[in-house]
Amino acid sequence: MKLIEDHLAIDPPEGVPVWDVDPYSESVLANPNPYYAALREQGPFAYIPRYAILACGRYDETKEVFSDHTRFVSSRGVGLNDFRHGKPWRPPSLILEADPPDHTRTRKVMARALSPKVVAGLREDFRIAAEAIVDRLLQMQGFEAVADLAEAFPVAVFPKAVGMLDVHARHLVDYGAMVFNGLGPDNALRRAAMARAPEIVPWITAACTRNRLTGDGLGAIIYEAADAGEIGHDEAAMLVRSFLSAGVDTTVTGIGSALWCLARNPEAFAALRADPALARPCFEEVLRYTSPVHTFARTADCNTEVAGVKIVEGTKIICALGSANMDPAKWDDPEVFRIDRRPAGHLAFGVGIHGCVGQNIARAELEVLLTVIAEKVAAIEPTGEAVWRPNNAIHALDRLPLRFRPN
């Protein structure tokens, strides 16, 4: 059995085009839309020889593979490494990298901590933080929106919501980026991320222990489930770790991308100002249009067939969510940003049992922040070039120079 990137090196299935592309090259990661279009053009699947994997980017097949948790499992890793053959770089996540029945138990506890009811109780804190940050930025001639807003806001509200006593803004943001780079091949991005693990991981692990959390945050809800015997106390620490890997860098990315969309589409921002109730649909369109998580993988756990293609057990399939969200077969004028599109069915949060468990809190953070901006800011003006930061799983900005014109 031959392995590549710690997964089974499959042969191209019959009828699937062989396409010599590197989806993880820095040029593709920085500007993925031409790659997405070419991927959809290949057919339902393409075989990528350098990694011996399948890739899909049309909406229907991407949704089928990504959401069918019985045939296409997550417990063998959602990156290129198959945990059945290679050792994961960290103990696997009990929710992201798990399948039922284990996943059902942990998901239920996480869903409780992140339910709409719990999130509703956080909104006032979100608003106070958003107003303070936006007021400060309005005093400035210009600012760098990734650091000064996209990172500043979640770092101000999320650790507090979790109940963390220790806050290290840089580690919190970089831990997520590191986990997501870890989902790619053994390239320069992954190696650079792994090199930082000795510095960041011990801090994260320590910050997730019960004595470093307050008794009234999201973290406490997880530990209460352990007290009730639903999960183990060691598992509780791991689930709190999931808040930090999945809840900071992703939201940072969503905020940066929302600002990028609104700065480039002044008519959309004018519409939002005229009707701040568009904040929530606006974020849905930002998610569809920018796909913060651009690619996650699944592993075929049986011999099966999708769209007439025979897929053998052990096949790694990378699901290009960013491509599915741009598929013209699914969306009218996909490359047009429409604030009121209401793109139900976009795959940015995934769908099914592995759909983002933090989506309520992400939506609430963005809705509150965009509402505050719509109320206080007359115009969002770019003052320099937006620069993207390549990551093996996240499509995020590195720098976004902006100015807020006051009302």
């Binding site: 239920k108 869903a111 339910s115 949060f349 995934g350 759909g355 983002c356 468990v357 989506q359 309520n360």
Partner: protein
């Protein structure tokens, strides 16, 4: 093709043709039924596809899913014995003619 009848709070009935294997939520979205929001798309995370299953059907659609009961606590409207998240009801020929009532609000 199992049919589903959606009834709004004012009594308006809309009958649609569903597909066996699809959820009631997906059927509602495919037919633009106002009153099912389904913000999370079927991940049982949002409680915005809440519905009341008509009494006569309540026994036939089976039990709530693991976790559904807790997520219903986040529903915007009163939760009754017949409350379900429509993303957790899968259509089949046995459910042909299923009647579900929509709540006053989802958010």
């Amino acid at each position: 093709m199992p049919r589903v009848i959606f009834v709004t709070p004012d009594g308006t009935r809309t009958e649609v043709e569903g597909v066996a294997g699809d959820s009631v939520m997906a059927t509602a979205i495919a037919h633009d039924i106002v009153g099912i929001v389904a913000e999370c798309g079927g991940s049982m995370m949002c409680a915005t596809c809440h519905c009341y299953v008509e009494d006569a059907w309540s026994a036939r659609i089976g039990q709530r899913s693991d976790g559904e009961e807790e997520m219903l606590e986040s529903a915007a409207c009163e939760v009754r014995d017949t409350s379900r998240l429509s993303c957790q009801i899968t259509l089949s020929s046995d459910l042909d003619g299923l009647v579900v009532h929509l709540p006053d609000a989802q958010t």
